[in-house]
Homo-oligomer: 138 residues x 3
């Protein structure tokens, strides 16, 4: 059985992390499926999905890692050609990846206690984001 | 329902990005499945899969990121032991990941308008690559 | 059809890579499913999953990459706040990702010959890890 649904998130951009665990868990709860996977996919090329312990210190540590490895302040050809100023956001998103697959059993996501599902919006401005949730199983 | 298929891609290696969106969309179109996920998997340990806005500037920016974070010109124990000269390619592939899961609804991949599915071939020579596509749904 | 199972792994932490290919292949073999995907998910926020050619040189090269890109010896706010000393482990795990999806056909994982499934334990101490395996297909 397959159920398609979507989550809408308003972000501030600039590497903001948004905890979407509750919404994902709720959609799984509401579905007719007891055991299966929820596939999350972010349409768009300047945001990604992962899990993290959603704690203020770590959010900052995660953001600092991106500033070190894919910095904002270096030249990007994308910016030179298109003037968007978000070349770093595209590169970060491609590295992190647009999809995440989380199994659930008996309606419960198999997350750890201190593990939350996050959308990371790398873009350089606030965005209205839509995350596809596909719930599959039986 | 499950459909297994494969895509063949000839690459130049050296961090070439190949846009495979059209082939993936076509295989989904040809399948008997209306709603579901397509799981892409690259067999091999020197290539990976992701999505990107397939634009010349960004391809170059993405490649520059790999040169900075997992450079070619530093010593790798893999190269010292095996003489392949592709230690960097293995490490990059493990970081990017071999699988990508893309949901589709009513036969349409849920990609953004400027978001393409890419194979990234990190190897240091041209390769003939085979990507597994497994389409699952109903 | 959906089958839920788990693999238990005892790790040494400190970026140890554990080859779990044999266990995954065995669980697929034991299931009643011939064609489908196995979704692996690590509950916890200081470990991740990927594939690699499981060869001593590369394991070391992969670990060196993490020391360069997300080093141990720099300040993490997580450590300042909680004193765990594993801020780097959390950031690494979020970048690598907690899930991996591997298709199988006719009971065989579609891995390359020199491509193994690995758990990477980034934590700063030995851990007892549980990996969720969800096998879905027909």
């Amino acid at each position: 059985m397959v159920t398609n649904t979507r989550i809408h998130v308003q972000t501030k951009g600039d590497c903001e992390l948004v905890d979407i665990t509750r919404q994902v868990a709720q959609r799984v709860e509401e579905s007719a499926i007891k055991d299966g996977t929820v596939t999350l996919f972010i349409a768009g090329s300047t945001a990604g999905l992962s899990t993290i312990e959603f704690e203020r210190g770590l959010l900052s540590d995660f953001q600092s890692m991106w500033e070190r490895t894919v910095p904002r302040g270096i030249p990007y050809r994308h910016d030179a050609a298109w003037g968007d100023g978000n070349g770093h956001a595209h590169v970060r998103a491609s590295l992190l990846g647009p999809s995440l697959v989380v199994p659930f059993m008996n309606k419960r996501l198999t997350l750890g206690t201190w593990q939350q599902i996050v959308l990371v919006d790398f873009d350089n401005r606030p965005r209205s984001r839509e995350i596809v949730l596909q719930i599959m199983g039986e």
